[in-house]
Amino acid sequence: MGLLSSSVSMTRYRVNGEIEGPLMETIHQGLVTNTVPEIDGEVTDKATGWTSWQTPYQPDFEGSSFAYGTYLVFSLRVDKKSIPAKAVQKLMAVEMARKLAEDQRPYLSKNEKKLIKEHVTDALCRQVPSVPHIYDLIWNYEERRICFFSSLKSANEELEELFVKSFGLNLIRLFPYTLTEIAMELTADQKDRLNHLKPTSF
């Protein structure tokens, strides 16, 4: 979901820690190293990585193209291939029949069937185009805040994993407890009450 869309879903994060070393170079390196790889024509059925916000299908992080004023803007891209089970079933049947005729045997071993299935799945995987899913994010580095434009559990989990791998920083999703602990100003007395808090009965 694009950050410029008229209606968006948003998950808020707090960034735990700071980049060591030159900021823009380190982030640039993290983005380039973890750019989403192309998997079309490959055996791989899923790829996750960063892409540029302006050109999500042709990742390009040259210069400071991901910097907008004090914000860093880029996107998470998850490419997935979906191979229909019935297509696998059909091609397996054809391939097994061919093998039986070729070897003039009445049956195939379990291992042979497994190898045929792998071969068929790989062949289909190379032919099927991947479907890209793109989720934008805005990173306010100075304030350590991130707005991630998806509330999908899977997309949030991919983001958290890729972020720490790319920049060595943990992301903390802001839900009631974490928002209270991290972003709110609480006295020692309030913190103590929070630790023993029970639901209110209205």
Partner: protein
């Protein structure tokens, strides 16, 4: 700090209490909510509210939606022990409007519309649009944090039960 998954479940109720308090405040003291931020902001109920009552494994959900929806059914649900789990909110500031739905347990925001932005046809326009949008998202986030901080100050005060809960109970039974 607690383990994240444990903390998420342990403090879900805090998000639901927050949304229930927010409805109460928007209905009874909107001027207080409007004065919590550096800019003047008016928050009011949007077009959707979801309430949930849980008793053991049984959950009862009431959803009220529509621009002219009667919130009476929501009050009835509150009387039966339900809390607000999702709330659509409109905020206005400086002639600009934000509308969004917030979920209590995760504080995730959905269906968020911000004030209109300028054209996005050229690269220069898009840069301006990103900065404008980022400002709108940040303003909403900051205001939201102010609301949550005010709620926590009341929720974690010694007189929460005697003062605030009593006032909310009166409002529920009104």
């Amino acid at each position: 700090m607690l383990d994240v998954a444990v903390a998420y479940n342990r403090y879900k109720f805090l998000g639901h209490e927050f949304l229930t308090w927010l409805w109460f405040m928007m209905d009874t003291q909107p001027e207080v909510l409007g004065g919590l931020y550096k800019d003047e902001i008016t928050p009011y109920m949007g077009n959707r509210i979801v309430l949930e009552a849980a008793s053991g494994d049984i959950r009862e959900t009431v959803t009220i939606k529509g621009d002219e929806a009667d919130m009476q059914e929501g009050r009835v649900a509150l009387k039966k022990g339900a809390l607000v789990t999702e709330l659509n909110v409109i905020i206005e500031s400086g002639g600009q409007q934000w509308q969004f739905t917030i979920k209590g347990e995760s504080l995730n925001i959905s269906s968020l519309s911000t004030p209109e932005i300028g054209p996005t046809s050229s690269a220069e326009d898009r840069e301006g649009a990103v900065l404008e949008k980022a400002y709108f998202y940040e303003k909403l986030s900051s205001y939201f944090d102010s609301l949550f901080q005010d709620f926590l100050n009341q929720r974690l005060a010694a007189d929460w039960e005697t003062q605030r809960v009593a006032a909310m109970q009166n409002w529920i039974r009104k």
